[in-house]
């Protein structure tokens, strides 16, 4: 195959933040037990205003950011979403709305379309309304999501569905994919839930077993074949949970490398979970993004490989996976600079094996998991 792509030359200095994730709010009508929002989200009260967000978008675009995700929480909770989309589009961003679909209706789909929104990604919990209800803490959400997925398709958007997989829905994968096919999806992300935030709290009750995972991969492959035979172009992306891999993923393509998150209160982060790390992150209310990205201690902390410890430090693969995820290293070992324990070369890899065993012994139902809501969050708020 010929290569039509341009490969950027890597030099010492960091490139531009091509990706901006704008977490507009932590407010959300759902209470997913796999939510990756911070446990103490309820402590964040002062959301950026419309003007402050427009300023963030303008600065990021001038720095070279081009892909923009609006997420949260539930971004539709913000009444100014249409205004922000219009402004983002005017600036030249490709605008993605990452939503649960709660708060969406046909009028709003059209208003967003008129504002220039490029893409709406809806998340589904399961094919079975009961499981979906237990996991998201809402009985009405499932029907709403399906209706809105259809409306989004009808409005002419490319349809990417996102299904967060865990042990309570992964066995339904066959009917989940059938449902996505039926909805007319162009692509489906079958993402095993990342164990951060609330998902980490519920880890033992969410992590699927090895057998479940293998069955799910086989189902996905069977569907790929079936879709190809029908000439149906629906791409299936299956994301294996880290806990069953023997090498970590290159988290965010590297710390402060292409990805920048702005949290609801203006905190600027290298990824949406980094807030949990024992360090201070600069705020867009106080510093220009340019200075934060290139010069702040936080963004330079884990750039390059000087910060690495053994076994990463002398490992040939260190530029491929950047030693894995700093949040995972911190959550599991207490040291954010440790090798991600997912790696089987890590001296802490036994922690991952223990987590798999713990999950295998956990017989809680989906209903017994801790729901992500403001009341539970108060427990984690230090203020």
């Amino acid at each position: 195959m010929t290569d039509h792509t341009d490969t950027a030359t890597a030099n010492g200095s960091p490139g531009a933040p091509l990706w901006l994730l704008a977490e507009l709010t932590y407010r959300c009508p759902l209470q997913c037990s796999y939510c990756s929002n911070p446990l103490d989200f309820a402590a964040v009260k002062q959301e950026l205003t419309t003007d402050e967000w427009i300023d963030v978008l303008t600065q990021a675009r001038a720095m070279g950011a081009v892909q923009l995700g609006f997420s949260g929480g539930e971004p539709l909770v913000r009444k100014d979403l249409e205004t922000l989309v219009a402004e983002a589009r005017r600036l030249g961003f490709y605008t993605n709305l990452i939503t649960s679909a709660l708060g969406l209706d046909e009028a709003r789909i059209h208003a967003l379309r008129d504002a220039g929104l490029d893409h709406i990604q809806i998340s589904l919990q399961a094919s079975d309304p009961d499981v979906a209800a237990a996991v998201a803490g809402s009985a009405k959400a499932h029907a709403k999501k399906l209706a809105m997925a259809r409306a989004v398709k009808e409005a002419g958007y490319p349809m990417v569905l996102n299904v967060v997989l865990h042990r309570h829905n992964i066995d339904q994968l066959d009917t989940i994919i059938a449902l996505c096919d039926d909805l007319g999806a162009d692509a489906v992300e079958l993402a095993n839930c990342q164990l951060y935030g609330w998902a980490h709290l519920n880890r033992a009750g969410l992590l699927p077993s090895q057998a479940q995972l293998e069955a799910a991969e086989a189902t996905t492959n069977r569907w790929r074949q079936r879709l190809a035979e029908r000439d149906r172009d629906m791409r299936l992306l299956f994301v294996v949970p880290d806990y069953y891999a023997d090498r970590p993923k290159a988290c965010m393509g590297g710390w402060g490398s292409i990805f920048m998150t702005v949290a609801p209160d203006g905190a600027v982060l290298p990824c949406h979970s980094a807030r949990m790390l024992p360090m201070d992150f600069p705020n867009a209310r106080e510093h220009p993004l340019q200075e934060i990205w290139y010069d702040s201690a936080a963004f330079n902390r884990y750039r390059g490989d000087d910060w690495m410890q053994e076994p990463c430090r002398s490992c040939d693969e260190r530029h491929k996976d950047v030693g894995g995820c700093r949040c995972q290293a911190y959550m599991l070992t207490g040291d954010p600079a440790a090798t991600d324990p997912v790696c089987d070369l890590s001296p802490d890899h036994h922690l991952i094996e223990a987590a798999r065993r713990e999950a295998a012994d956990d017989s809680r139902s989906a209903q017994a998991l801790t729901l992500r809501n403001a009341r539970e969050s108060q427990v984690f708020c230090r203020t």
Partner: protein, 95 residues
């Protein structure tokens, strides 16, 4: 590949995808849901000609006028190879 066949086709970008010149990167990029392809100059020039009206033959003529110093047949060959590939990758479609 039957090249007279391909010359009558009218290609367009996949719905919802966007071609854009990025000043900061000094190149064309192809933007799609949560992703981006960084294009080299010739890929950018070819995709820039797709407007959902022109067939491939017209597109080649226009590129030839734009790059008169290119050797005979070279542009047609590049365009054919590129379009077949781009379609396989799901970047473009025809009716």
């Amino acid at each position: 590949m039957n090249q007279t066949g391909i010359d009558t086709l009218v290609y367009r970008l996949r719905p919802g995808w966007r071609l854009q010149w990025e000043e900061a990167q000094q190149r064309h990029v192809l933007l799609y849901p949560e992703g981006m392809v960084k294009l080299n100059d010739s890929a950018g020039a070819i995709l820039g000609q797709l407007d959902g009206q022109r067939d491939v033959a017209t597109l080649i003529e226009r590129l030839q006028a734009q790059f008169p110093e290119a050797p005979d047949g070279a542009i047609a060959e590049d365009v054919h190879a590129f379009l077949v590939d781009a379609q396989q990758q799901g970047w473009i479609q025809h009716d």
